[in-house]
């Protein structure tokens, strides 16, 4: 029987992906997403041109303004501002939809849904069959929650997508976030990719020697063993890294070098962020 005949004789039903395959795909996707974010951070968009410190402060101000707002118009205005920034920074709409809007809607929706029925107030409709009352106050509360979270998450994603991660870390350092915390974040980011690579190699090597599907208990055993091996490797790696640090003079104190220079355009951007965030707070306070 030739390979072609074997393939034709095989059932055509689409095979459900195994645990190992799904893990490999997940690890590859995680690495691809980080590569995509790094590429986007180096494109020639509006946010990409702004000093990282200004972006961190500015986005934080907008995020706080959205979180504090009690006026739906202000929140939607900030959301529209986020969309404009995304457009001017060449961040595709589908990236926002896939990475933030849909996951946030699902997650926040689960939290907000019971409030539609349980918040006391004016009933505006009843759920068919169950007859539960949907209250105006409940709908309003859920809308505020979802729009606030969507807006805040969009600002955060824009910051991450339009700034190389290393610059975000340096900006945090400049903004007086404790150095040790920033260094730990940086090393975590650095080594998470190495561990992802090791994990992917482990799963691929297992996949290359496997035929058929694993049973549930076998999948759990495989996952447990893989976690154990990764933990052991990460322990060895951390010892070696510490020695490499010692070898170059590390004595427990962290010293850093910052190289950011504020230009006129950065001061303008900072003023722009402050103006929009301030305006949002004032308008919200007035109405």
């Amino acid at each position: 029987m030739t390979m072609g005949e074997i393939r034709r004789a095989a059932p055509t039903r689409r095979r459900r992906k195994s645990f190992v395959e799904r893990t490999i795909i997940g690890l590859a996707e995680a690495m691809e997403q980080s590569l995509y974010a790094e590429e986007l951070a180096h494109t020639d968009g509006l946010l990409q041109k702004i000093d990282p410190r200004v972006k961190v402060v500015g986005m934080l101000a907008l995020l706080v303004a959205a979180a504090l707002s009690h006026t739906i118009g202000v929140i939607l205005g900030l959301f529209a501002g986020a969309l404009l920034l995304a457009r001017l920074s060449q961040v595709p709409l589908r990236t926002l939809v896939g990475r933030i809007w849909v996951p946030v809607l699902l997650f926040t929706g689960v939290l907000a849904l019971p409030a539609i029925f349980t918040t006391p107030g004016q009933p505006i409709a009843h759920l068919p069959l169950l007859g539960w009352a949907i209250t105006a106050q409940g709908v309003s509360g859920a809308t505020y929650l979802i729009t606030r979270v969507e807006t805040a998450a969009t600002f955060s994603l824009l910051l991450i997508l339009c700034t190389p991660w290393t610059h975000v870390l340096k900006a945090l350092r400049v903004l007086q976030v404790p150095v040790v915390g920033v260094v730990i974040l940086g090393m975590t980011y650095r080594y998470i990719f190495l561990m992802l690579q090791i994990a992917r190699d482990m799963f691929e090597s297992r996949q290359s020697r496997m035929v058929g599907r694993l049973t549930g208990p076998d999948q759990r055993r495989l996952a447990g063993a893989s976690v154990g091996v990764l933990l052991s490797k990460s322990f060895t790696l951390s010892n070696d890294i510490y020695m490499a640090m010692q070898s170059r003079g590390f004595r427990g104190e962290v010293y850093t070098l910052d190289e950011f220079v504020m230009r006129r355009s950065d001061w303008l951007a900072l003023a722009g962020f402050a103006l929009v965030a301030g305006a949002a707070v004032i308008v919200d306070f007035r109405f």
């Binding site: 790094e38 190389p164 991660w165 290393t166 870390l169 940086g186 090393m187 980011y189 650095r190 080594y191 990719f193 190495l194 790696l237 070696d240 890294i241 020695m243 490499a244 640090m245 010692q246 070898s247 170059r248 003079g249 590390f250 004595r251 104190e253 010293y255 850093t256 070098l257 190289e259």
Partner: protein
């Protein structure tokens, strides 16, 4: 000023009660010599380098650097530790271990920052070093995005910026493509103009004569031979006994099968 950089006397190092990496090793490394330490995997080469770099301390025996004992007590003293770290540098076999900073620039600046050099001087020297190693274009890149050869160059830059007197290299050509290997060898041949001490562990016999004046062969945590690379590399029996060369059956172009000991040179046989 002493002309001996390292003086290792009867050093034994045990990882656990059952695992002995070095078993009574004694050797002397004079200043300005280029030394190769050869041996198969697990022969104790890397452990010796870590002892010479003051990262491990002997279970018994003693190791001296520049006439001073390398001990945990000595490294508690900041003055001694900084002076030693300034003079001796180690390039690890796995560059991923050594490249722990978010960017290449930060990586090269790490050593000088620990030495508390003035920041302007650090910026200038890092730029010069990146230029020298032809990696300026990588300065804002994260080390995990680099190729093996690029990582090795960054690892070298990160220790050379301190202008050490002694360079310890652990398997510098391991897992590198031929072009990157030749760049590393060219560097080792040219670095320091003969004034620096370079100790390289390797089981890549093809680079030994180029990078070393003296050589030691390790096996099972012991020195089994020492001499010039030219003499040691001619001793086929010694190399076979220490697993540095091997015999296997293979076919030649005329179809004849036979076996003889040989070294690998790229993809060809000698």
């Amino acid at each position: 000023m002493t002309d001996v950089v390292f003086d290792v006397q009867q050093v034994t190092y045990r990882y656990t009660a059952d695992v002995t990496a070095l078993n009574g090793v004694s050797l002397t490394i004079p200043r300005g010599r280029r030394v190769a330490i050869m041996g198969a995997n697990g022969s104790g080469k890397s452990t010796l380098l870590r002892i010479l770099d003051g990262l491990y301390f002997p279970t018994s025996g003693q190791a001296l650097a520049f006439g001073e004992v390398l001990s945990e007590e000595h490294f508690q003293d900041d003055t001694f530790a900084f002076a030693f770290r300034r003079r001796v540098a180690l390039v690890f076999q796995n560059p991923d271990v050594q490249l722990f900073n978010p960017t290449v620039f930060d990586e090269v600046a790490f050593g000088p920052l620990q030495m508390r050099w003035p920041k302007d001087e650090i910026r200038r020297k890092v730029a010069d070093m990146l230029d020298l190693m032809q990696i300026t274009h990588l300065k804002d890149r994260s080390p995990h995005r680099l190729s093996g050869g690029e990582k090795k160059r960054v690892a070298l830059a990160s220790v050379l910026i301190l202008d050490p007197e002694v360079l310890l290299m652990d398997e510098p050509t391991a897992a590198l493509d031929p072009r990157s290997q030749s760049q590393v060898v060219d560097f080792l041949v040219g670095w320091g103009g003969g004034a620096k001490t370079v100790i390289t562990t390797t089981h890549d016999l093809d680079i030994v004569e180029e990078i070393a004046d003296d050589a030691f062969i390790f096996q099972g945590g012991l020195i089994v031979a020492e001499g010039t690379p030219a003499v040691l590399l001619r001793d086929e029996d010694l190399l076979r006994r220490t697993n540095l060369i091997h015999s296997h059956r293979h076919a030649h172009a005329d179809g004849q099968l036979h076996a003889h000991p040989h070294r690998h040179v790229g993809h060809d046989h000698e």
